[in-house]
Symmetry: D2
Subunit: 151 residues, 4 copies
């Protein structure tokens, strides 16, 4: 059931962003580790940081252009726990695809030892203002690609 | 990136449980649909219902036997949104494996039209009281298997 | 800092509703008790149950009438903890006021021993479609009062 | 129902700490504002920042000394909304009391205009390792007071 995943570090040219998170008391479960669902928020923090670094594909940009970009696939692999008061770094990487999708991969590393706590991926599609899924990329996303995906 | 997934309905003999959820106001995001991270809780509701139907592998049973069973893999596919005030049914299915793992698949169906909103899977491993991952199933889990997995 | 609070049981004629909640694994913190912030959701479950019993003042009714009703005051007193797997009953009571406000009081009782775990109160105001706070009750709320607040 | 509250700025000698928060997508509700329950986490961020600035009364210190300090009273007043992508500053202030309690007041100000979004207060008590509430301050808390509460 565990999907083999190409190492996130391989594609040197890819767009990446990093952000730091700190474990909150409310995020730790009764096993004294971060509850597995909280990492979905950490991934979101990663997308937020990515949007700041490569402007044009944040939630607000989607809205402004009449689109939403809901997540249709989310995968998480938990390798090591994060515990109370720990800090970690979320690294997010844009994965280019021909399809009308927005794909990211994630690695969350513990700041103490640099080890990967969690890695994962997300896929978003584009929904237009009439609620239909776009079969081709919206023009604002094509423009974003032209701007940021240099060969 | 999307993993092909055997239809959850195929294996007739499998152990399944169902529970109903109702969308809360706090679970809906600014797109007026359930925030994608909330489904992780719905999956947990499914495991809870499963534990009640086939006693012996709930969180408390793990504790009582000196183990924890953290999630190491979680996958979600979002097919249709759930919206405010909607009810849905979480169906969880036990997936038998030779490995020392506890595997489930999930389907969340909207009660209005019976369509699948989200499906997914989870994998748990067993950690003993010294913090080591078990390479073989703990005996209480083997007993649970003998009891519930009839041929 | 602790406000004396008239006993919720005193006003016999008041409108009340009850709903049952079950503690989720994800709601329990590292002290093995429900994290104090989760009770805000339980209160919301109470308001939801109240809206079903006395229709006309649910979130959807506000929207349909062009209003929102954000919470402006929230108070919680924690008397006894709820723990893993416990069930409890949320009782919500409508508190009549002359002001253009919607006021509730809450009691969450443990089902095991009937003791109060948490009690509290909330105050909501009405915001019209132009974003202004209403100084008088919206007409749909006045109608609701006429219907349900019998002398 | 709304308690009059001495201005948080009055007591010049009081211990305070500040931390900045950024609204996450997942924290915004269908009214496009931060869901009222999320502020409980922001208050927690405030306590965390306070613990870093005046070490000795963080969650870990309680544990290390054999105590927990659950919240027994929580009050929030919502004055103005926070919206998507907004940043705000949580200011927390220690409130000295004779009782065996740990009391804080909070103000969350929007960074855009400096206006108060939410203010509130929390009260914690001390529970010893046998589960009893302390009628007198634990010695480690008395020491903390002697260290930080200079006249």
């Amino acid at each position: 059931m565990i999907r083999r995943r190409r190492d996130i570090g391989k594609n040197k040219a890819a767009l990446t962003a990093k952000t730091e998170i700190k474990v909150r008391f409310s995020e730790v479960d009764s096993m004294q580790i971060v509850w597995h669902g909280e990492y979905v928020r950490y991934f979101e923090d990663g997308r937020e940081a990515f949007g700041l670094m490569y402007p044009g594909i944040g939630y607000m940009d989607f809205y402004a252009n009449g689109y939403t970009a809901p997540i249709v696939d989310l995968q998480l692999q938990y390798l090591r726990p994060l515990t109370m008061n720990e800090t970690a770094t979320v690294e997010i990487r844009y994965i280019e695809t021909e399809a009308a999708k927005l794909c990211f991969e994630y690695e969350i590393r513990r700041n103490t030892d640099g080890e990967i706590a969690v890695r994962g991926s997300s896929v978003q599609v584009f929904i237009d203002s009439e609620g239909n899924m776009c079969l081709n990329n919206p023009s604002f996303f094509e423009e974003w690609k032209r701007k940021w995906l240099k060969r």
